[in-house]
């Protein structure tokens, strides 16, 4: 129960930080923001890695491996495309 409570703490506070930080993101960058948060949420790959490596059951290994594929493609693809988009945003030569 203590672990549950401390997890709840983490969840609520992280959600709050997310709210405050993301509110400040300019609408200009909403698309790269979404692909970045998507890549970050693919941190779920760590759960899949443990599952695929523990050899507890065949089902767990198979599902874990598939989950690694799905999450890793988000990590790699998400970071690549976010960076590609951000590279395109340039200021005009004369600053207003």
């Amino acid at each position: 129960m203590t672990e549950l409570l401390s997890n709840l703490y983490v969840f609520v506070l992280a959600g709050f930080i997310g709210f405050e930080v993301i509110r400040r993101v300019s609408p200009l960058l909403h698309t790269p923001l979404m692909s970045l948060t998507n890549a970050l949420a693919a941190i779920a790959v760590v759960g899949a890695i443990v599952l695929a490596g523990e050899e507890k059951s065949t089902l767990a290994t198979v599902l874990g491996t598939l989950a690694i594929v799905a999450a890793t493609s988000n990590v790699v693809g998400g970071f690549i495309i976010t960076d590609r988009m951000l590279k395109m945003f340039k200021l005009s030569r004369k600053k207003p």
Partner: protein
């Protein structure tokens, strides 16, 4: 559990969590945003390397295979065209949700029935959210890629069927949480989640995609956070909460920009209902102009605001628009862009398309910035946008889009609309803007018409 190794992993996870928050903080401005991506990448690398030290891992072969295959797929998905970014994003929500669903399913069959009630509740929540986000996002990606029809698909009693299915799924999840030995319920919950995802997105049309993508983003994040609770992994809880709140904020912004509530987007089925009303206003006269006339009006203007919509992207006209921008700026005209929050197929999509065409981002203004400026604007040039400029949203309470915040283009001295013909927009609503005295219709394909204006202006005669 008190092995030194597991403490090390916890500390690595903490560092990764801090980097993730910094990463999002740096996204607030284009100056620091790329640093944000690096912070995210370092955090991710740390977390993955830390996890590989986990003492429970005995076999690395499947892990390596999964990482390599996933990287190959990800590298391919990272190379899509900018117009296809909404589909790619929807697909990545699907992948994220798939990962969560698979891990949740595996955890269930490893642990059940010896799972405390609360953990089972979170586990079923994880699988339910994950499975409905998986199929829902696949549906959204299919609609955006135009594999599936973009028009909303509706039938009688649809909302009842959807809600009943969701209620059944939640009921089964509650039963399983109350008595974790009833393991037979689990496949049913999974199946109902998958089915609900399909049914949820079926009635949603292309114009509502920005809201739906944001909502699915939020669900994907929350399901990852739920997975963090099940595994007792705080980094996952942090990342899931950040993703969830980001998606939530974006969905709120999108629904506000369309003056609609979440429930209205999910259960309203826009597009189809209004087509009947459009037929009424057919015979009204409009004024049209040629590329030559449009060119001379533009080059004699002091301030021009260009209003791009998704139609511009469909016609691939953004590079021609960039040429027009260059010529007008060279002639001393003040040119800027007005971007409605729901222009494009996902939040911020239009900005990315214009940035790709090399238009400087300090010239891209959002609705609140630009609306007070239309009074001092000589020409508002609308390219491929319709409903977001419709003054009926301000003036006509009977209009289906009444109350939606719009770009006040009718404040400009001259309004020019590049449009293929007089057909109504996506939502099937007639636009009174087109019948104003100050409005000139420029009939033609966006790319070729803007190209013709560019030729007029660069062909000489104006120096």
């Amino acid at each position: 559990m008190d092995l030194p190794g597991s403490h090390l992993i916890e500390i690595v996870y903490l560092a990764a969590g801090v980097l993730f928050i910094l990463s999002l903080k740096w996204m607030s401005s284009p100056d620091t945003a790329r640093r944000g991506v690096w912070a995210g990448e370092i955090g991710m690398l740390l977390a993955i390397c830390g996890t590989l030290l986990h003492h429970g891992i005995v076999d690395y072969r499947w892990i390596a295979a999964g990482l390599v295959l996933g990287s190959i797929i990800g590298a391919r998905l990272g190379q899509v065209q900018m117009t296809a970014v909404p589909q790619r994003t929807a697909l990545s929500h699907a992948f994220g949700a798939l990962c969560v669903t698979l891990v949740g399913t595996a955890e269930f069959y490893l642990r059940a029935p010896d799972v405390p009630g609360f953990t089972m509740a979170v586990l079923t929540l994880e699988v339910l959210l994950g499975s409905l986000t998986f199929t829902g996002s696949l549906m959204a990606a299919g609609k955006l890629q135009e594999i599936l029809p973009q028009r909303p698909i509706t039938y009688k009693g649809q909302n009842f069927v959807n809600l009943a299915l969701l209620a059944c799924a939640i009921g089964a999840a509650a039963m399983l949480s109350a008595d974790p030995s009833q393991t037979y319920l689990f496949p049913g919950i999974l199946a109902m989640g998958l089915a609900f995802g399909v049914l949820m997105v079926t009635p949603i049309g292309g114009a509502d995609m920005p809201t739906v993508i944001s909502l699915l983003n939020s669900y994907a994040g929350l399901s990852a956070a739920a997975m963090g609770f099940v595994l007792g992994n705080k980094l996952l809880i942090v990342a899931g909460a950040l993703d969830g709140s980001s998606g939530f904020i974006l969905s709120v912004i999108m629904s506000k920009a369309m003056n609609r509530s979440f429930t209205n987007v999910l259960f309203g089925a826009f597009g189809q209902v209004q087509t009947a009303g459009a037929a009424a206003g057919e015979a009204k006269p409009v004024r049209s102009a040629t590329a030559e006339e449009a060119g001379s009006i533009l080059s004699s203007a002091g301030k021009v605001v260009i209003v791009p919509g998704y139609g511009m992207a469909v016609a691939q006209a953004q590079h021609k628009v960039r040429e027009l921008y260059d010529i007008l700026v060279k002639q001393g005209v003040d040119v800027s862009f007005a971007i409605h929050p729901v222009a494009g197929r996902m939040p911020g999509h239009m900005n990315v398309l214009l940035a790709e065409a090399d238009i400087p981002y300090d010239k891209l203004h959002d609705m609140d910035e630009v609306n007070p400026e239309f009074h001092q604007t000589d020409v508002a040039l609308i390219i491929g946008a319709n409903d977001v400029t419709n003054p009926a949203a301000r003036t006509d309470p009977s209009s289906p889009i009444y109350g939606m915040p719009i770009l006040d283009v009718d404040g400009a001295r001259v309004v020019m609309v590049v449009k293929r013909g007089m057909s109504p927009g996506f939502a099937g609503i007639d636009n009174p803007l087109y019948y104003l005295d100050r409005t000139l219709m420029l009939f033609g394909d966006a790319k070729s018409f803007v190209g013709a204006i560019v030729r007029e202006l660069s062909g000489g005669g104006h120096r």
